[in-house]
Amino acid sequence: MSARHFVAVSLLCVLATPAWADQRSDAKKQVEFGIQVAQRGLWREAIYRWERATQLDPTYAQAFNDLAIAYEHEGELDKARAAYEKALELEPDNLLIQQNYDLFKEINDRTVPKDGR
């Protein structure tokens, strides 16, 4: 790598890191607020917050996990599945997300007829 390239890449990293950190920090605030309202039973507000968090930081697996749980609680099962799958795509080794997803699948399977007739 030439010196010019090295400087350019370094500069990009220096400039980009705070922007990324800001986005994660803003998203985290939305997630925390979402958790507070969900604990008080205000699930629609929680969905708004967690959707906002995933828009601010589309790599935030925890936000997708929380959003999936809220969708599940609201009976929006297709959206819940998509959000869980996104969360697992971002953090495939996260056992807590996997556990939530497994429990979701158990319920979701009950909505599908067994012999399909």
Binding site: K28, V31, E32, I35, A38, Q39, A61, Q62, N65, D66, I69, E72, H73, E74, G75, L77, L95, L96, I97, Q99, N100, L103, I107, R110, T111, P113, K114, D115, R117
Partner: protein, 254 residues
């Protein structure tokens, strides 16, 4: 255990949720439901037709918005015979030896013993004219019918159980022990068929299989086993006709 492993390195919050499951069938065109009767087979210790009719009606009365019609259960085996459907024929089992106290499983079973025997009755459920006529008789309700096979079952093999052991210091702990056991129980295989009482056509059908096994020394009445097995599949049956809420716990993450 998973939660414990993660407790140290991530913020999590357990939260109770209630997932609403929409009904599989649109029952809005119906105000009434007729649990008509079932082709029952297997053990003769339980009248699976009458018990299933009674159980489903009582569940639907409390857990569905449809009005449950009280009527005698239809003798569907006789109806099938009238429609020219032949009952499965078998050779009579040999007479029990003199003084034999207990019946063998062969003797406990009626003429309908397995799924193959039930196949003969598929024509009855597909007989649109018959079900339309029943529908007219009861003001065009949603009709629930089908087959119920409740058969005794025996299985032997290795079973793992926990055994208490004490070490030289008198400390108690449990260890898994594999033992060979003969077990007996029942298999319940119901197929619920939902028929539109206005047209006589099948709207939906669903088949289940549940099994229970007990130690060979344990004496469990057949009727108790029947209810134990039905209890497992009732939530799914009810979810066909009405929305259900399933309670659970999930983990929110920061």
């Amino acid at each position: 255990m998973v939660l414990g492993a993660f407790a140290g390195c991530t913020s999590y919050f357990e939260i109770p949720i209630e997932t609403p499951i929409p009904p599989k069938l649109d029952t809005s065109p119906f105000q009434r439901v007729l649990v008509a009767g079932f082709i029952a087979g297997g053990s003769q210790d339980v009248d699976s037709n009458l018990e299933t009719v009674r159980l489903l009606r009582s569940q639907l009365r409390t857990k569905s918005k449809l009005r449950v019609i009280d009527a005698d259960a239809l003798p569907l085996v006789e109806v099938a015979e009238e429609q020219g459907i032949e009952m499965p024929s078998r050779e009579a089992p040999p007479a029990p030896a003199e003084g034999a106290a207990t019946a063998t499983p062969e003797e406990e079973l009626g003429p309908i013993r397995d799924e193959k025997d039930l196949e003969a009755f598929q024509g009855l459920f597909a007989n649109v004219d018959y079900w339309k006529r029943i529908g007219e008789e009861y003001q065009q309700p949603l009709i629930v019918t089908g087959t119920v096979l409740f058969t005794p079952h025996q299985r032997s093999g290795f079973v793992q159980r926990e055994q208490e052991v004490y070490d030289s210091f008198g400390r108690r702990r449990t260890v898994p022990v594999r033992t060979y056991q003969e077990r007996k129980g029942y298999i319940l295989r119901p197929t619920f068929i939902f028929i539109d009482g206005r047209t006589g056509e099948t709207l939906h059908s669903e088949t289940f299989r549940e099994e229970v096994l007990y130690s060979i020394n344990q004496s469990t009445p057949a009727l108790s086993s029947y209810f134990e097995l039905m209890d497992r599949l009732l939530p799914t049956f009810l979810n066909t006709l009405s929305a259900q809420k399933i309670r659970g716990t999930r983990v929110l993450l920061k």
